[in-house]
C-alpha cells in the first residue's frame, strides 16, 4: 500500500471514528477521569472546589453509614447471586429440550427481563405490601403471618433480593441455554449408554462444558450487583432507617441531596476499585474451574 493511500485511509478512518470517539471521550472517559479529580476536592457545586487531597477517602474510612451501605451491598449480592444462578441454571436445563412450546416458555421467563426496573420494583412493592399485598394474603391462607417486608428493617433487603432474582432469572437462563445448546449431544448420549445417572451426566459433562457461560454470567451479575440502585430506590429508598441503604444510593444522596460532590465521587472511586478488583480476581480464578476447549 502506498504512503499516500495509507494517509488517505487514516483521514477516512478519522471521519468514521469521530462521532463515537468524541462522544466516548466527552461523556464517558472524560467523566471517569473527572471522578478521580473531583474525589480530591471539597465542593458543594455552588462555590469554588478546594483541593483537600485524600481527606474524602479518610472520612469514608471512618463513615459508619458508608460501611453499612457497603455491607448491605454485599448482603444483597450474597442473597441475589446464588439464587439467580441456581434458578437460572434450573430453568435453562428445563428449557433445553426439543419439545413443543419451549419457545413460549422461554418467552414467559424473559418477560420481566425486558420490563423496566421501576415498573417491576413498583409491582413487587405492591405484591409484598404488608397491608393487603398478594403475598401476605397467600401466606395467610396457609396460616403464616407474613413479615412486614420492605417496611421492616430485617426484611427490606430480602424483599429487594426477591424482586431482583425474579426479574433476572430469565436473563441468566437464556445465556446458559445458549451455552447448553452448544454442548454436543453425542457426548451425553454416550454417557447415557454407559449407564451414567442424570446427576452424574450433569456434574461430569454438562457443568464443565457449560463453565464458560456460567463464568460469563457470574461476572456480569456481580458487576451489575455491585451497582444495584433502581430497585432499592423505588422499593425502600434505602430504608427503613437506612436498613437497605446501598453504595450507589449513597452516591446519589450525597451528590444530589447533600451537594457534597467530592465526597460522593470518592465513594464512586471506591466502588469502581471494588468492581475492578473482584472482576480481575475472577479472571484469575477462572483457570481453576472454567474449561475452554
Amino acid at each position: 500500500m502506498s504512503a499516500q493511500r495509507r494517509w488517505r485511509n487514516a483521514g477516512v478512518a478519522a471521519i468514521f471514528l469521530a462521532p463515537s470517539l468524541v462522544t466516548l471521550l466527552a461523556f464517558w472517559i472524560g467523566p471517569m477521569i473527572g471522578t478521580v479529580w473531583v474525589s480530591f476536592q471539597d465542593w458543594n457545586l455552588i462555590g469554588v472546589p478546594s483541593f483537600v487531597g485524600l481527606d474524602n477517602y479518610a472520612e469514608l474510612a471512618k463513615d459508619a453509614d458508608f460501611h453499612a451501605a457497603l455491607l448491605h451491598t454485599l448482603l444483597y449480592l450474597a442473597g441475589y447471586l446464588p439464587l439467580v444462578l441456581i434458578l437460572g441454571l434450573a430453568v435453562a436445563l428445563l428449557l433445553n429440550a426439543k419439545l413443543p412450546a419451549m419457545t413460549l416458555y422461554r418467552a414467559m421467563f424473559f418477560l420481566p427481563v425486558v420490563s423496566s426496573w421501576v415498573a417491576i420494583s413498583l409491582l413487587w412493592k405492591w405484591l409484598l405490601n404488608p397491608a393487603g399485598g398478594l403475598v401476605d394474603k397467600a401466606l395467610g391462607l396457609v396460616g403464616i403471618d407474613g413479615p412486614g417486608w420492605w417496611t421492616d428493617p430485617t426484611w427490606a433487603m430480602p424483599s429487594v433480593v426477591l424482586a431482583s432474582v425474579w426479574k433476572d432469572v430469565g436473563f441468566v437462563a437464556v445465556i446458559l441455554l445458549a451455552g447448553l445448546q452448544a454442548i454436543p449431544k453425542d457426548l451425553l448420549e454416550a454417557a447415557d449408554l454407559d449407564g451414567a445417572s442424570a446427576w452424574r451426566r450433569l456434574r461430569s459433562i454438562t457443568l464443565p462444558l457449560l463453565s464458560p457461560s456460567l463464568f460469563f454470567v457470574t461476572v456480569i451479575s456481580l458487576i451489575n450487583g455491585f451497582q444495584v440502585f433502581d430497585q432499592v430506590w423505588v422499593m425502600t429508598g434505602g430504608g427503613p432507617g437506612g436498613a437497605s441503604s446501598v453504595v450507589v444510593e449513597q452516591i446519589v444522596r450525597y451528590a444530589f441531596s447533600y451537594g457534597r460532590v467530592g465526597y460522593a465521587s470518592a465513594m464512586s472511586i471506591v466502588l469502581f476499585a471494588i468492581i475492578l478488583v473482584v472482576t480481575v480476581a475472577q479472571l484469575r480464578l477462572q483457570r481453576r474451574w472454567v474449561q475452554y476447549d
Partner: protein, 270 residues
Amino acid sequence: MTRKILRYALLTLGAVAMIGPFLWMLATSLTGDAQMSNADAALLPDPVTTDPYARLASAFPFWRFAANSLGVAIVSTLLQLFTSATAAYAFSRLRFKGSNALFVLYLATMMIPMQVIIVPLFIEMRSLGLVDTYAGLLLPTAVSSFGVFMLRQAFMALPKELDEAAYVDGAGPFRVFWRVLLPLVGPALATFAVFAFMASWNAFLWPLVIAQTEAHTTLPVGLSLLLGRYGPAWNVVMAGSTASILPILVLYVFAQRYVVRGIAFTGMKG
C-alpha cells in the same frame, strides 16, 4: 414419559410464577377505589373499571412522560446505530495506525458504569448548560462500545471481495459503507436497535439526575414519583406500570428473535 410430564410441570410452575405477578398488576390496575379500600373485597376487580387509567392520565402528565420516553428512546437508538456502525466500519475495514489500541480503549469503556461517573457527568452537563434538556438526556447515551463490538463482528463476517469489487467499480469508502456493507448487516443492526431502544426506554438513574422538571421527565422517573404523590393508590400506580410496560411487551413479541439472538451474542462474548 414421566420425565416429560415432570419437565412440563416444573416449567408451568415457573411460568405461573413469572406471569402471575403481571396478571396481578393488570387486575389491580382495573380495580376501582371502593374495592381497593375494602380489605375483605374479592381479589379480582368487580366491576372492572378503567378509572385508575383515567386518573393516571388526568392528574399526572403521563402522556408528556411517555412522549419524552418515546422520543428519547428513538433518537438515542438512531444515534447509537450511527456512531456504532461508523466506528465498526473503521475497525473492521480501514487500516490505520493504532487501530488495535484504540479498539481496546473502546472495549475498556464498557467497564465504566454510569453509576461511577454520574457526578462529574452531571457537573459537565451543568457547565454546558444542558441540565434538564433533551440534549443532556441523550448525549451520554449516544455511544455504545457494545454496539461497536457487535457490529464490527457483523462486518468482519462479510467477505472483503465485496468491498474490492465496489472499489474497482469506482466507489469510495463512504459509498462502500453505506451502499454495500450496511444493507448486508440488517439483522445485526435490528438486534442492536432493539436492545438500544429497550435500554433507553427503561433507563432510570441518568434521567432521574438530569431531568429536573416535568417537561423533560421520562416515564420510569415519572412512575417512581407516582407512588410518592398518590401514596397508597396502588390501582393508579399499577395502571402506570402496566401502561409503561405495554409498549416494550409489544416490541418484544414482534422482535423476540432479535432479542434472544442478542442475548445469545452477549453470552458468546465471554
